[in-house]
Symmetry: C5
Subunit: 95 residues, 5 copies
């Protein structure tokens, strides 16, 4: 999994039937010091994340292991909202 | 998933039998500001996308989770046509 | 999938039993203008491709969705021989 | 698999139900000389690794092949704690 | 699959139970001219490869398609020992 921040939303009405009802969020990838990595990914939201929140996302077939992405052509999913994280015992981020 | 623009078509008559009837489209990868990333991918079209359209594509085993790619040796699929997307509340793209 | 050119062959007699009879071909990866990307991949041939031909290959679990790679430890397969492809309506390659 | 050092912890109370009870650890990726590669990954711990330890992690669908990650949306798992490793017959690391 | 040379060994006693008995080898990745790419991967050995040998390895879920890696959290496996390979009809490597 990787850390990312929710920064946007994609609207798509013409899509695979299995994805009707799914939210596509744009995630800004973050490094382990909370700095943007200059890259993004579009993920389905499985946990009710809001814009600006720091989240964990999973890629590949693991992205289909949630109730909202089961059997969907989704290769990235937000599966946790981050409360806090620490490096070398020091808190880097607290929500 | 990632954003991309449909820019071309690949014709291949000699292919795996399970892929007869599939359209192979060339996608120009886009960043979250709609700028080309200087890279491409060839994807099967599952939603009827046309040249020039901005789409979302999924990679890996998730690319097989559509009616047209089921059990096919396809590792990328267009699974949505983008109507619009926004970043930080600002609309970046509208079809 | 990505475009590539068949440039070589790998001979390996000591291999997983399920792969006996498979051809391992060396592919030079190509960009969408038919220029070499300076990288390669070794793929199993599922369509009878010959040296010098331009092909499409699929990676990951999708590489096992052909008759010759089913249940094999193969992560790349040639699943189509390219006849032609075009970008922005202009033919870039014709066999 | 790749070598990495456990450097941190992610706390997330709002997550996919299947992941309740899982520990999310931040791993600093290492090269084969034990030098940091300047990159990280967040992995679920399946072997009881502690901060500072050198571990092996697996990515993709293989990350779900442990008792703690089965059917979870986890794409990286610590599946071994490294005791030692050697290159060209020379010991590079001993715990 | 990619070409690599076996350069080392990882010892890990504390690991996922399904991996007891597996050998973890360090592979130096090679380009198609047999030059090191400056990168490595740790793979399970399924074919009895020895240090210094040139091998093919497979990644991802395909790495679990051997008798020794079935249902294991392994994302890379050595599935062939290379006897020789050629590029443009010229032999680049012979064992």
């Amino acid at each position: 999994m990787f850390l990312a921040r929710v920064t946007g939303t994609v609207v798509a009405t013409q899509k695979e039937p299995s994805m009707v009802g799914s939210s596509f969020l744009i995630l800004e990838r973050l490094d382990e010091r909370l700095q943007p990595k200059g890259d993004y990914v579009v993920a389905v939201d499985a946990v009710g994340a809001g814009e600006g929140e720091v989240v964990l996302y999973a890629s590949g077939s693991s992205a289909r292991q949630t109730r909202v992405t089961k059997d969907c052509p989704a290769d990235a999913v937000i599966m946790a909202i981050v409360d806090s994280f620490s490096l070398h015992g020091e808190t880097v981020f607290r929500k």
